[in-house]
Structure formats: C-alpha cells, structure tokens
Assembly symmetry: C2
Amino acid sequence: MSLSDRTLADVGEFRLIEEITDGLTLGPDVMIGPGDDGAVLAVDSPLVCSVDLLVENVHFKTDWSPAESVGRKAVAVNVADIEAMGATPTGLVVGFAAPGETPESWALDFARGLRAECETAGVSLVGGDVTRAAQIAISVTVLGSLDGRPPVRRDGARAGDLVAFRGRLGWAGAGWAVLGRGFRSPRAAVQAYQVPEPPYGQGRIAALAGASAMIDVSDGLLADLGHIARRSGVAIDLHRESFPIAEPLQAVAAATGSDPLGFVLTGGEDHALVATFAADSVPADWTVVGTVSAVGEGGPTITVDGSAWEGEQGWDHYA
Amino acid sequence: MSLSDRTLADVGEFRLIEEITDGLTLGPDVMIGPGDDGAVLAVDSPLVCSVDLLVENVHFKTDWSPAESVGRKAVAVNVADIEAMGATPTGLVVGFAAPGETPESWALDFARGLRAECETAGVSLVGGDVTRAAQIAISVTVLGSLDGRPPVRRDGARAGDLVAFRGRLGWAGAGWAVLGRGFRSPRAAVQAYQVPEPPYGQGRIAALAGASAMIDVSDGLLADLGHIARRSGVAIDLHRESFPIAEPLQAVAAATGSDPLGFVLTGGEDHALVATFAADSVPADWTVVGTVSAVGEGGPTITVDGSAWEGEQGWDHYA
C-alpha cells in the first residue's frame, strides 16, 4: 500500500488528530489549544457563540468541491454568523465525522483548507473531535468577541432605516446552477459556490456604524431579510435597480435562460452581510438596496419595487 | 396522516427548531438564546470550550437507546470534558442532523432528553443548528467557567501523587456487553450504557482540592490514564484490590464468563473523573486506586499491581 492510498481506517483517530493539529498557529488569547479535554481561552464578556453543520450531499458534494474548499467553507459560513452579530471571531472548535474508507489525503486537504480559512478570518482553531460516520459531517462552533458592544440582533430594524449589504449576492447560487447542469464554468461562480467569501471584519464595522439589525445571507436575501422583517415588525422594500449584477451572474443567467436578479434575491450560501441603518450612517462600501417602513395591513413583508417577488423563496433543510 | 406519523420532512427545519426551543429555561448569564445568528453570553475569563460528536451506529443505536437517552448522553459526555478541566459548565450549543424520514417524535424525545440533562448538569442550551443527513449525527459544544482558577491539565501528575476517581467505572461497558448479546438486563448496566452519569460538580471540587492532572474516562480507565502518564512523563500503578466491583458488573461478568475488573479497567463511556492528587489532598468520596511514580526504563507506563494488563486497551474510532 502506498502512502497516498491510506484511508482513515488505516491511519486511526489519534494519528489523524496529530496530523490536523501539528504546527497549528494559535492566537495570543489561546491558553490551551488542542490535546486536552477542552481548550482554554482568554475571553471578554459578552461572548458570541454559534454552531453550523455541513453534511456531505446536503451542503457539499465531494465531486463538486475539493476537500480544501470544504474545509474553507466550513469556517467561512460559521464566522459569518459571528460577524452578523457585530462581533469579531476569536476561537473555533471543529467536529469531523467521516467513513473509515475516506482517503487520508481528503481529510488532510480538508484540514489544510480549515486552517487556511481560520488564518484569513483571524480565528484560532483551538480544539475538535474526530469520529467515524457513514457520510462526512462537519460541525464548526465559533466564539466571538463584541469588545463590550451590544450585539446587533435581528429585531432592531425601524421604519425609515435603509437596507444595505456588503459581500456577494447570487454568486454561489449561480455556481450551484452551473454545477447542477454538469458544467464547470464560469469559474468565478463555481468557486463562489465552493468557498463563500464573507466580508470579514465588516460585521464589526456595521456595528460601530450603528446597524439596527443584521443577518448573514445563508438561505437567500429575501428569506433572510424576512427574518429581520418578522422579528422587527417592519416592511422592507428592495429596489431592483440598486443591485449590481456581476458579470458571472449575467453569463449564467444568459446560459440558463433565467433572470439574473433571481440569483441575487434568492440564491443562498454567499454569506454576505445585510443590515439596516439610519439613513445617515451606512458604512462606506456598503450598497444601499432598500428601505424599511412601518408594516401595512399584510403584516411584515418583503417586496421588490413594491410587489411580492414571484420566484422561489429560499431554503429549508428538510424541504 | 396522524400527528404521531409525522416525519422531520413533514415538519420542516424551522418548525422543528421552534419545538425544540419553545419555553426553554435560560440561565441569568444568557443574554441572547436561540433564534439569532449567534447566542450571546456573559462569561468570565478564562473560558473552557469542548466539542464532541455522537453518530448513530457508532456512539449509539436507536434500537439500544431511546431517543431521550441519546439526548441526555449527548449533554453528559460533553459536560464531562468541561468538568475534567476543573471547570463549571455554563452554555451549550447543539448541532442536530437526521434523515428526513426520522419520526418527529424521535427528534422531540431527543430534545426533551437534551433539555432535561442540561438542567441536571446546570448548563443552558443557548443555540443550535438543524439539518438533513443520511444518519443521525449530533454535535454538542459546551462552554465552561474556571472562576479564575487555572485549568487542570493532563500533564501535571507528579511522582508521589495518588490516583483517585469519582463516578462509575465499567458500568457502561457491561451494559454494552449485555446489549451486544441481545439481552436487556441487568437494567442498571443497560441504563448506564444508555445514559452515563458523570459526577457533576466534582471537577470543580477536584480542582479546588489541588488536582495535579485530570481526565474524564471516555475510552477506558487504562487508555485515559495512559494520556495522563504520557503527557506528564510518569508511571502509574493501579491496585486491583482498591476497585469496588458493583453488583451489576459482577452479574454481567458471571453471565459472560469474563473478569469484572476488565469492565472497570477498559470499559469506556461512563465518564467518571480520574485525577491525581498530592497524598494529603484527595477530596472526600473520591476512591484512591493507584500511585504515581517516576518513569522507569520502559517510559511512561500503566500497570496493575506492577504488571501490564493483558486485556484490550481502549477505543479508537477508526479501529
């Protein structure tokens, strides 16, 4: 058996953990990293904490995403939740379950992606758990610091606020549409699906600017703004002309005969940040795309140029 | 379709989350519980954090453990890691992945067990994630407070220390042996396998007593003391006569023709705490079972009455 043929069953749990954690860079706030019963971190209060699961054939397919991309995505989607509270990510623990016949190389590539994205996001990988399972399942829990600020919740949007976003909208959805038809281009859309690029650091900036409500776009802009509208008891109207339609989205829409705005409004998994702000406090480089008003007779609503959007509305993991 | 026939695919992700979190009791340190992008907690520094995965047919079988037991076990095994650092558990986030055809009743029973054990352990369920998967997989991340004390690590055992434990040893292993042979009794052993009973609160007590090293027994006493011996660079000798052999273990050993001490020394999943202490500082109600000495020529070793144990040595999730 050559080294490259080894599976996780050949390597064993403890050796795999050593390979994943060997030479890990830890931040100055990490007092104990991987290797004991728990990690120990210096933290400040209050602390933000969020968990997300990524499951093979639900959140990723191994033939659509290289292992390194899966590792990067696992970090990115979770850090985006911390950013959406207005916090800065500090520490992260990962649970990794995979079949014994998984190639060791897959797990090591996954770990390399995980570590690389932790570095990009400025968060320390401080611990984890490894086990066997019938399919690959990854759990990532991220801790974040608010530096003493109050968290930005979903329920604070007020009539008169503007709606603005930072990051990408529709790129991952376009990539998913391309891959689903058996194509591999445009590369930019496919890569956006494989590894989202949340606007790291912008959650804190939005909080400092006074964001009244914020969420990261995981299920689609309309679906996620729906959470803000319902929780805040407001109506939100989006303005079609205010959305930039990037070139890859235009290309995919043309190739698939669809409206590129559909990707922007309903495509999930880009993990852009969308927030509401008083009219004079939208941070630089955020794009204003809508307005908040008091609810009418229909209760909290999301409209586009005053009308309900006629496409699909987002993502339910059991639908 | 009657209510009791509903599956998770019928109910949907968002409704399931509502059912799990409805009426949840949160501790006074929880500023934001489930329902936003992340939970927010008042914490003190340093903070302990640990994650464990429980996977169907690896860590539990649905025909060996009722759903409520699986929920309780998911909390117990993780809180034990926090206790093993000498900390007090504060907040917990859970990831729940299950097939769409899972009965809703299974998920609700699981959630009830999760919430009940959180209450027993004194920890708040503050957030989670729910998704679809081919098999049930559960991730639990627990946060804990050290109240300003240094953590108890695995590497602090010193020659001259005593080894003592608190909790159960061998009960879950005996229950597993019983279930593996198709039996359901003795009930006490089977229940110990289904729901471990870590000695909640004793991790903090051991830390206050000055424990030099500590671990929770998840893979078997010999295997887990092996981590302390290697990390501390010491030899540990256990004394056969010092172990109480509880009645259910005697019964299972007699029925299966095995040595009951085998369950005590190599059975995992009871999540007892085992620690090393200076001779005059073992806390009340901990049982002294061995001694720590300087390593001999063979390097760090675990022996029983001076000799290597001739049974199996513990558990590797890819073995």
